[in-house]
Assembly symmetry: C2
Amino acid sequence: MAYKAPIKDQLFVMNELARLDQIARWPGFEDAGPETAQAVLQECARLCEEVLAPLNVAGDRNPSRWDNGQVHSTPGFKEAFRQYAEGGWQGLQHPADFGGQGLPKLIGAACSEMVNSANLSFALCPLLTDGAIEALLTAGSAEQQAAYIPPMIDGRWTGTMNLTEPQAGSDLSLVRTRAEKQGDGSYRLFGTKIYITWGEHDLAENIVHMVLARVAGAPEGVKGISLFIVPKMLPDAQGQATVRNDVHCVSIEHKLGIKASPTAVLQYGEEEGAVGYLVGEENRGLEYMFIMMNAARYAVGVQGVALSERAYQHAAAYARERVQSRPVDGSTAAAVPIIQHPDVQRMLMTMRAQTEGSRAMALVAAAAHDAAHAHVDPGQREANRRFYEFMVPLVKGYCTEVSLDVASLGIQVHGGMGFIEETGAAQYLRDAKILSIYEGTTAIQANDLVGRKTLRDGGATARWIAQQIEVTEAELAGSGSPHARAMHRRLTAARKAFIDVVEFVLEHGKAHPNAVYAGSVPYLMLSGALVAGWQMARALLAAEHRLPSAQGEDAAFLRAKIATARFFADHVLGALPGRRDAIVEGADALAAMPLEAY
Amino acid sequence: MAYKAPIKDQLFVMNELARLDQIARWPGFEDAGPETAQAVLQECARLCEEVLAPLNVAGDRNPSRWDNGQVHSTPGFKEAFRQYAEGGWQGLQHPADFGGQGLPKLIGAACSEMVNSANLSFALCPLLTDGAIEALLTAGSAEQQAAYIPPMIDGRWTGTMNLTEPQAGSDLSLVRTRAEKQGDGSYRLFGTKIYITWGEHDLAENIVHMVLARVAGAPEGVKGISLFIVPKMLPDAQGQATVRNDVHCVSIEHKLGIKASPTAVLQYGEEEGAVGYLVGEENRGLEYMFIMMNAARYAVGVQGVALSERAYQHAAAYARERVQSRPVDGSTAAAVPIIQHPDVQRMLMTMRAQTEGSRAMALVAAAAHDAAHAHVDPGQREANRRFYEFMVPLVKGYCTEVSLDVASLGIQVHGGMGFIEETGAAQYLRDAKILSIYEGTTAIQANDLVGRKTLRDGGATARWIAQQIEVTEAELAGSGSPHARAMHRRLTAARKAFIDVVEFVLEHGKAHPNAVYAGSVPYLMLSGALVAGWQMARALLAAEHRLPSAQGEDAAFLRAKIATARFFADHVLGALPGRRDAIVEGADALAAMPLEAY
C-alpha cells in the first residue's frame, strides 16, 4: 500500500496548535516560518513516498544479514541512505556550523514522522546518529565535535548508542564494560554490548559508537560510568578513517519486527582493546547519555505516531475496497465496502483519533523544546523546558503503547487477510512492539514521570498543565456547539481524574512507593491520553474557528478534524475517570499476593 | 519454557463454580464426577507437558511446508498426533456409540485448554475434527455417521470446515462453489476454498472436508447454501479409502503465527469435479454449519484462555529469574528479581487475572452446555441453553481479545528479550492475533450478541444474568471482608453499567441500528469482563469459605485466588462504568464523519 505523507494534518497542528508562526520570531529561527515548513515537508514527503516507503516490505522479507562479522543491509537501503544524506535530512535540526540546517525541532519532528512511517527500520539509523550528534554537541570537546559531527551530518558516517549489556538492561548500574587509560590520553575498551541498533552495516564508511564503560577504579553503580567515542574505523597517518578498530559485530538478533534494522552484539577488545576517546569528564557518562536518551525517547515517541499513521492508512484503504456483507441499517440489499459497517468505522476512528492525538501532543512538545531553547523571554524558556521535560515520558510511553493497539486494530480491519503476511498489515504490529521497549520500557518512562517529573517539583508542572487545560475548557464552554459541549464535559472529567491521581502520587510517593509505582504506567497512560485529548480539544476549537471561511478540501479536512476530536472525547477521554480508581486504590491486590504465588 | 498444566485452578473452577458434582448426577454423566475429572486432567497434562508443549517452538521455526500439492507437517507432529489419537483424546466429548468417551463438555473444555496451551497449532487439527463430528452428529444420516465418525474419533481421519472463499469471508451469502447432482445421488463440486485449517497434511490417512456449496438452481444468498462431505480419499471397490478425490491443495498461506498449522487453499473440481455427499437437506447448509461453528467458536474462546495461560507462565518464570534494578521502596541496595518491581507485578497480575477470569467464564459456560443437554429438569435445560447461547460470543470474543493483550504484556515483562524470537514470548503474540479473527471476528461475535442474543429475546437473558450477579453481590455483602467489600462495590457498578447498555441496545436496536452496532464490540467486551468478574467474585467467596480449613499449598492457592479476584475487581471491573458512555453516546462522532474523509 502506497504511503501518503499527512502534510495537511501536520501543518494544521504546527500552525494552529504548536504556533510555528511564533517560533519564527525567535533568533535563529527567522527562516523557519510556515512557508519554509511547507516546502520542507513537501520535499521530505517526496523522498519518503517514493524512495523509503517502497523499501519497507522488502526490509521485512529480506532483512539485514550477518556474514562473518559483516552486516549486509537489505538491497536498496544503501542507495536510499545515499539519497537521504544528499538531501541534507540528517542535518535538519543540527547547527549550521557543522553543516546542518538549524531548523526547529517542530519541523524536524514532522519530517521524522514521515521517514518513520515510510520505513521504520531505515529511520532508526538516522535516529541513532542524531543521538550521537546530540551527545557530542552537549559534552564533546571542540576537536571531537569538529572531527565527528560533520561526517555524521553529511551521511558518510553514522552513530550508535551502546548502553545495554547482557546483565545490564534497564539497570545501567550493572554496566561492566571496562576502559583502560593509555599513555596518550586515549582508552582501550573491553566488553560486550548488546541490542546495538545499526551497530554494524554497510550504509556508511564509518560508525561512531558512543559507549558507556567503567574506568578502572571508578565508583560502583551509575556514578562510575563514563562515555566514550569508539569509532569503527580509526584514522591512519593521513587522517583518513581506514584502520579497523578492535570492535566487532559477533552476531545480529532474530527479531519479531524491524528486521531490516540490524540489532548487533558488539564485542569490544577481543584483541588489544578497542581504542576509545573520553567524552567530557570521567564518571559523568550517564549524565551525557541521558541527554542523548532524552532526544532518542522523544524520537521513539514520534516513531509511535508514524507507525500509527501508516497502519491507519493501510487499513482505511482496505476498508474502502473490500466488499462484504449488507449494511446493518438495511439501506441496501447488496454487500457494501466494509467501511460502511459501524464497527469498521469505530475501529478506523479509534486508529485515526489516536494517531492525530499522538501527533498533536508530540508536535506541541517539540514546539515547547524549541521555545525552551530559543524563546526571547527567560521565564517562557523555563516554563517550556519544564513542560517539555514532563512531556518526554508521555510522548515516548503513550504514543508507542497506542501504536501497538492501532497496529492490532489495523490487522483486525483486514479480517483473515490481516493475518497473512503478504497483506502487509501484520508487519506494523510486529514492528510496533519494540517501540514500548527500547530507549526505556513504558515502565521506565513511568518511573521517570513519577519520580523526576512529578515528585521532584512537588507536582508544579502537572498542576500547571491542568491549569492550561482549564483554559481550553473555558474556550470550549464559549463555543456552544454540541461537539464542543461534549468535549468540554469529557475533558473536565478527565482533567479532574488526572489531578486526583497527581495528588495521590504526591501524597504517597515517599511513604508508599510500592503503591504509587504500581500505578505508574496507568498514570502515564492517563496523562498521555489527557494531553492528547487536550490537544484534540484545541484542534476542535481551531477547526470550528476556521470552518466558516473554508471551502472544498479545506472545509472537508476541518469537518473531519471536528468529528475525530469528538470521537477522541467520547471514546478515549470518556474512559479516563474510570481508570482513576485502579491507580489510587489498585495496589491492595498486589500487597495481598505473595511473590511465590505468581 | 516448560509448560505446567494448571490443574489446581481448573479443578477449583470446575468444582466450586461450575458444579461438576451436579453434572455427575444427570443421566449419562454418572461416571463424570470430580475424581474422574482429576484423573482425566492428570493424564491429559502428561501428554501436553511431555509431548505437545515441547513441539510448540519447533512448529513455529519449522512450519508446515507445501510441496507440489502435499503438505509436510513439522517433524514430530505426526508421532504426537498418533499419541493423541491412541490416548482417545479426540473422542473425549463424543458419544460412546461411535467410540468416544461421552464425557461432559466441562471436562472436555479443560483438556482442550491444556492441549491448546501446549501447542496451539497442533490443537487446531483436533478442534476442526470435533466440528466435523458435531455437524455429522446433528445433520448426517445414520450411514454417514457410521462411515465418517468412528475413523475421525480414532484419529485415522481428520476433519475440516470449508466456508471461506476469496470473495466470501464474514459474508457467506457470497459463496460461489457449486455442486452438481449426479445420477447416483452424489454431487460433483467445483470451486475454491481458502483459509482451510489443516486442509491438507500428512498426520492422517484421510481428510473429511465439510464444504458449503450451492446446488444449481438454489436461491440466492444464504438460503441457497448446502453442506457436503467431500473426503480427500474415496472408497475403492473394497470400501477402503484409497481413491484420490478431485480436491487439491494448491498452496498454503505465509502467516503471522500458528505457522505449524497449514492454512490451505483448496481447489475443488479442477478435473471431473470433487465427489461430495449432501448432508441433511439441500439449502439448509448454513443452519448445519452454524452448529459446527457454534462449537468451534466456543473452542476458539478456550484457545484464548490457553494462550493467556501459557504466556503468563512464561512471563512469570522470567520475572522470577531476571535480576535488574533496586526496589523502589529501597528495601535493599542490590538489584533484585524483577518480579519484585511493582509494575512487573501489575503486568503479571493483569495477565493472571484475565487468564483466570477467562477460564472461569469459559468453564461455567461449558457446564451450562452440559446442563442444557443433560439436566433432568426441562426448565433448567432451557435456562441453561439460553445462558450458554448468550455466552458463546462472550467466550469467543472476550477470551480471545484478552489473550492478545496478555501475550503483549508477556513480551513487555521480558523487556528487550521479549522482542528476540529465541525467547519464545513473541510467538504467543503472533499466534494470539488469529484468535479474534477466525471462526468469526470479534465484530461478528458482537453482531450475534446484539442481534440474536439480546434483541431477539427482548433482553430477557441479559437481564437474567444481571439478576444472578445481584445474588452474588448479596453474598459479597454478607462476607464483610475488605476484599469482598471492594469486589461488591466494583461488581455492582459494573452490573449497572451493563444494564444501562442493554437497555440502550433494546431501545435503539431497531430504530438506530448504526448507533447500536457502532457500540457492539464495546458492549461485548463490557459484558465479557462483567461475566468474568462475576465468576472471579464467586471464586473469591468460595476461596474465603474454604480458607479456614485449608493448609499448605491449598491455603496458598486460595489466598492467591482472593488476591487475583481483588485485582480483577479494581483493575478490570473498575474500568467498566467508564466504558458505558462510549457505547451509549459514542456514535455521534461516527455520524459526523463522512466516509470519504477517512
